[in-house]
Amino acid sequence: MSFSILLSVVTALAWGIQSIFLKKAMRDIPLTSAILISLIINFFVLVFLIGVSAEKGFSVFIDISGPIYFYFMVAGFLNYLLGRGLYYSSFRFISITRSTSISSTYPMISVAFAIIVLGEKLALHQLIGIGLTLSGTYLLMMRGKR
């Protein structure tokens, strides 16, 4: 097994179990605190990584233009704050497995964007993939209705 595959498996494993740790944390602490702690740790890890690995270090931030800052700020708001907030909040009402599976369908949004905005056409395997994803989501949602 190549090192990149091993790293990919580590990524999936870490993403997979972080939600379980968070669910356990939310038994004792409020959602806001749980998200805040997670963001603080991520922040310091990124600061450390930039300090040790990135070529130009922190001086890059001076030269970044306003629109680029804006793009990343919107991405951060949507992903780290709104997305995670809603995702973690859903743990209070449905099981982690269902919540994680439903929220993992986000590539469909990218596909919809590619079709509507960019006018891209889908290959057969992508159409099958969309069908399977929607079927899986329907199954999980109907499981909740029973």
Binding site: T32, N79, S99, L139
Partner: protein, 143 residues
């Protein structure tokens, strides 16, 4: 009703997770290193969250936070960071076509670990297993 609320929240989070990379991609097209972009994105969320926690009065409850909850919140944060680093590392040395589909299997790990660790609060029946498998296979095919 609460069942639907949880599902609506999970679906909306998926929309947010789907739109965010479009903006991140636009930012990265400038040639900026992902760690720098990640720090701006994470820093923005952190600042807003601190303001929110401060003005909503939730900062006052921090001294009463139980160690058990804090421990697992820290573990969750560490896992997020490990995922972040290993993902970028894998992307930098491996093929995107291989790395992205493998990382998309994370709901399977959630299901597996949840089954063994929090069985008392997780209902994992055949519908959940089949639904999760269909979503994971479907997402891999779509990418």
């Amino acid at each position: 009703m609460s069942q639907w609320r949880g599902q609506v929240e999970a679906t909306l989070s998926s929309v947010c997770f789907g739109i965010a990379p479009i903006f991140a991609k636009k930012g990265l097209m400038s040639g900026l290193h992902p760690f720098h972009g990640g720090l701006i994105a994470n820093g923005t969320a952190l600042v807003i969250m601190i303001f929110f926690a401060f003005f909503s009065g939730q900062m006052r409850g921090w001294e009463s936070i139980k160690k058990y909850g804090l421990f697992f919140a820290i573990l969750s944060g560490i896992c997020n960071s490990v995922a972040l680093v290993s993902f970028f590392w894998a992307m930098s040395i491996g093929k995107v076509a291989l790395v992205v589909p493998i990382t998309c299997t994370y709901p399977l790990f959630t299901m597996l670990v949840a089954y063994f660790s929090i069985r008392e609060s997780e209902v994992i029946d055949r519908f959940t297993v089949i639904g999760t498998l269909l979503i994971v296979i479907g997402v891999i095919l779509t990418i």
